[in-house]
Point group: C2
């Protein structure tokens, strides 16, 4: 992987915006500092960074991927009303990979958990 200004800026943007943005959102967020960047470049680099384990790619139910810089392993809670993504700490599922290995014999490289429900904000809104 060769250095590029664009990739650096994309990563920087991700670091500064812990909102689990979509590719399109990253693109918008960068526009002011790098007006000529192409959407395709954003996609290309986000995927590249995810493949190399630098960032995390999260599949939403609405068919738009989201990206996350956070390095410590953790899981996600996706609000079924507003599609916002919240972090869930890793230790809610201790022994998980060990159990899978023991019970199925499958060798797991990675693991993603998506919890779904209505987030506190949306629950408030429903009440009012």
């Amino acid at each position: 992987m060769k250095y590029s200004k664009q990739r650096e800026q994309i990563l920087e943007t991700l670091k500064n915006n812990c909102i689990h943005p979509t590719a399109e959102q990253v693109y918008s967020l960068m526009k002011s500092q790098m007006p000529n960047i192409s959407l395709a470049t954003v996609y290309r680099n986000l995927n590249q960074l995810a493949e190399n384990g630098v960032i995390l790619k999260i599949d939403s139910l609405d068919g738009t991927a989201r990206f996350d810089y956070c390095r410590e392993q953790h899981y996600h809670f996706i609000c079924t009303k507003c599609n916002k993504v919240y972090d869930v700490p890793h230790n809610v599922a201790p022994e998980l990979l060990k159990n899978v290995q023991e019970q199925t014999g499958l060798t797991v490289d990675s693991c993603e958990i998506s919890f779904r429900g209505i987030c506190p904000d949306c629950q408030q809104n429903i009440k009012h």
Copy 2:
């Protein structure tokens, strides 16, 4: 939800094919028995059935959803080589929802775990 022949046949097809098929695959599998069914109908009904909890919708990493009839709660292992989906028993993650609730306060309605790795078949193929 009103009865329809098409929906019944879609569900039947899913019951008889525990291969976690995509919508397109369900469509092909049905073609012989119901040659005039429309792909849109397959999509419409699969989503409807999933929304009503009759079947399960699984998000793959390659951007094509897969569907599963199995009623007992369980998780999935997706092979990163061939994209085949395997079942993983529910009890690999005991206390999961309780832990989330306790540690985050979030109310979880559902939860999906996707394990990723290379399946035994593909590991064999790599060796040869």
